[in-house]
């Protein structure tokens, strides 16, 4: 005999509920801690209300980290989108080579980002790294990739792009393969050129797939930790000090728990708002694309 019908809905929802509680409990606890000045030196903390947030928002270090985080996320997501879609278009055109390259393309995704960052750190090493070795014949063998603020940020973005461009390419390729053939055949009959077809047909119909990739990559890049920490530790100076690394340093290294968690709560709010805006936009785009078909 099965469970009573009245209980069934609750039993069905129970796993999801438990999972949600597992996520919400530490989140709620973290939020609660930010209202205190809890640190290793104050194991019996006092209530400070929104004092941690006020202090954080009043510090130049926070605004620097926020700016670096946005630069990183926008830069990485934009570059990955452009490159990923371009690669997908190329693979879509040449079927036999495309099938081989697809398999190779997926390799960076199989490497843990922190391993990729360490690998690139060695390759970008100015004196013994392979990148400068290859650039030496063209007179660029002395580039200090991660020693300057701009170089460190660009190098970090480049590693992110190397790891995640295949993700965007695979999503875009799946999108390309799912597009209906008839509009393209009609365009060909009418003598439309490649650029015209791409601009007026391919891109509008592909856009929902691209936007999904952008949402994933932008959200993920806002939360970046591993690649930057392994490559530059947030330096030189504070030039690659994103919010996640700052939160880690404050909470774990310097043991100002409440203050460190405040950083993660603000980051969560930023990610949440950005996700909300992008997902709404995705809904509109999907409706438009459906109408176009």
């Amino acid at each position: 005999m099965g469970p009573r019908p009245a209980l069934r809905p609750y039993l069905l929802v129970l796993p999801a509920l438990l999972l949600t509680c597992g996520i919400l409990y530490p989140f709620g606890l973290g939020l609660f801690y930010t209202l205190f000045d809890f640190s290793a030196s104050r194991p019996r903390p006092g209530l400070v209300g929104f004092g941690n947030y006020r202090t954080m928002l009043g510090e130049g270090a926070f605004w620097n980290s926020a700016w670096v985080t946005v630069l990183y996320a926008v830069g990485a997501a934009a570059a990955e989108t452009v490159l990923g879609v371009s690669v997908a278009l190329l693979l879509h055109r040449s079927s036999r080579i495309g099938r081989v390259l697809e398999k190779i393309l997926i390799l960076p995704l199989m490497i843990a980002p922190v391993i990729a960052a360490i690998m690139w750190k060695l390759m970008l090493q100015p004196s013994v790294g392979v990148v400068n070795h290859l650039l030496r014949p063209v007179g660029l063998g002395g580039v200090q990739w991660t020693d300057t603020p701009a170089g460190a940020l660009l190098s970090s973005i480049a590693v992110d792009v190397w790891v995640y461009t295949p993700f965007v390419a695979i999503l875009a390729l799946a999108g390309l393969r799912s597009l209906p053939a008839s509009p393209f055949e009609a365009a060909a009959v009418d003598g439309a050129g490649w650029w015209y077809t791409f601009r007026r047909l391919t891109l509008p119909m592909l856009w929902p797939y691209v936007l999904v990739a952008v949402i994933f990559r932008f959200m993920d890049s806002l939360k970046v930790f591993d690649i930057i920490y392994a490559l530059t530790e947030g330096g030189p100076g504070d030039s690659t000090m994103v919010l996640q690394i700052r939160a880690y340093l404050e909470a774990i290294r310097f043991q100002r728990y409440s203050f460190g968690i405040s950083y993660t709560i603000v980051l969560w709010a930023v990610v949440y708002l950005a996700a909300m805006v992008l997902v709404r936009h995705l809904g509109r785009v999907q409706r438009k694309a459906a109408e176009a078909r």
Binding site: P43, T232, I252, F254
Partner: protein
């Protein structure tokens, strides 16, 4: 009436209440950490005559950092178990994440590990929350401590470095003994004798000479058959560990301080005019005589470059050079010599130190057995064996540093013993003890990177001092 909807509401309300319970409990139960410190020490429970086998059958858990000193300890554990009947279980982590692991473990309030390795600086972070056992009562209790342990045999500056009153700015050497020195490192200059011989160079006696020497080597060495060689390896990563070896040693030899203490209040002093000038010169030395990609340099890269003949000099822990200098260890072994390094303007050889120490978890439930382990690990017998048959060099005990067999072992390294003798008594912690040490020195390293990158030293260090003044009170 829709009873289903009513039930659903009640169910959700109950669930919310269940989820909120731990949150609310946290309000009343506090935030974890060690807040149940009693007045007495567990050492007082040990009475009668001293007996190594008092805790036989017990198992002690140790957290260790991957290090040659650790290898010597692990290789000798059988003799400890044989003597005491105590088994030691251990976990070894690489240095990159060792302290994060230890910090998280201690802050969780659990007693996963009874004993662990730590640096003397960590006492300033782990001591105030009450995570470290005060070992003073154990040392003073003759029932717990054997006479042969001989506290007076330790270099006094080392024992004092692990002793603190837990008050920011208060000098070391007073208050509780929160760890025991086990292995240490002085910060001196090691250099490649082959390169120096070919280029007709001599070790620098002043900081100005060191800067010129580093730049000269970087310029001349490639032409003398050392392709890609640079002058001096010093740490540069965005980490507290960048500040404490060569930089702090030279800083202290110039008579400079990190903080001044006025009426118990700390005031950052790294932006004084002389400190700014020194820091600018240090960054300038690295720019003209240091390694490429300096901002990622930890001791691994510095030590490796000396061994690989990429660096002509290393200003860092003597052990970092020693491990490259021993026969067969690196292409440069047999060609590495030691020198105390440049003196300060007044001839000072003040040197900053790093001490690998051993501490006990204040929450350990096996304190008596743990103390026997600490006593054995810092005792004469094990440390002598570690120094002679393994690579546990830089003895924390005077008797071992004077031991004829130890001197014989180290004699083949040019200048090692003389350098050790020259700086041993002048080596102490040159930082002001305070709980925000890691934040202060990490920010200091970031400032150093910015100055190296071309920003104006005075402006950067004023910013750093202003920031630290708010954090360190």
């Amino acid at each position: 009436m829709d009873t289903h909807a009513h039930d659903r509401r009640r169910f959700l309300a109950l669930t919310a209440a269940t989820a909120a319970t731990p949150l609310l409990a946290a309000c009343g139960a506090g935030f974890g950490g060690a807040d149940d410190k009693g007045d007495g020490s567990a050492a007082d429970d040990v009475t009668g005559s001293f007996d190594w086998r008092r805790e036989r059958g017990t198992t002690v858990k140790a957290l260790l950092n991957k290090h040659p000193y650790t290898d010597a300890l692990i290789a000798d554990l059988k003799s400890f178990t044989g003597r005491t009947g105590i088994k030691v279980e251990y976990d070894v982590f690489p240095e990159d994440n060792y302290f994060d692991k230890l910090t998280v473990d201690l802050s969780s309030g659990r007693a996963s590990y009874d004993v662990f390795m730590l640096g003397a600086y960590m006492v300033w972070q782990y001591g105030p929350p009450g995570w470290l056992e005060d070992l003073g009562p154990w040392m003073r209790n003759s029932a717990a401590t054997g006479a042969e342990w001989d506290q007076d045999d330790f270099f006094p500056n080392l024992l004092q470095a692990d002793q603190w009153s837990l008050k920011d700015g208060a000098p070391l050497g007073r208050g509780g003994q929160y760890a025991l020195p086990w292995g240490w490192e002085t910060n001196v200059v090691a250099y490649n004798t082959e390169v120096f011989g070919k280029l007709g160079l001599r070790p620098a006696e002043t900081f100005d000479e060191l800067r010129e020497l580093a730049a000269a080597v970087k310029k001349k060495a490639p032409g003398a058959g050392y392709d890609g060689m640079y002058g001096i390896a010093v740490r540069g990563s965005r980490s507290w560990a960048t500040i404490h070896p060569g930089f702090m040693t030279m800083y202290a030899r110039n008579g400079l301080r990190d903080f001044t203490v006025d009426g118990g209040a700390l005031k950052p002093a790294m932006n004084s005019p002389r400190a700014v000038a020194f820091t600018r010169d240090w960054a300038d030395m690295v720019r003209h005589g240091g390694p490429p990609s300096w901002t990622s340099y930890t001791w691994y890269q510095c030590s490796g470059d000396l061994g690989a003949k990429k660096a002509a000099m290393l200003f860092d822990a003597d052990t970092a050079a020693y491990f490259q200098a021993v026969p067969g260890a690196s292409p440069a072994s047999g060609k590495i010599a030691f020198h105390p390094g440049p003196k300060g303007p007044d001839g000072s050889l003040a040197t900053n130190m790093w001490i690998w120490s051993l501490g006990m978890n204040a929450r350990s439930r096996r304190k008596s057995a743990s103390w026997l382990f600490l006593q054995w690990a810092t005792g004469k017998e094990h440390l002598r064996r570690g120094a002679l048959t393994h690579q546990h060099i830089d003895p924390v005990r005077r008797s071992i540093s004077q031991d004829a067999a130890y001197k014989d072992k180290m004699r083949h390294l040019p200048g090692f013993l003389d350098t050790f003798e020259a700086v041993a008594d002048r080596t102490r912690i040159q930082f002001t003890p305070q709980a925000q040490f890691f934040d202060a020195t990490t920010s200091w390293a970031a400032a150093l990177q910015e100055i190296y990158g071309g920003r104006e030293a005075g402006q950067v260090l004023n910013g750093l001092a202003g920031d630290l003044a708010r954090k360190v009170r």
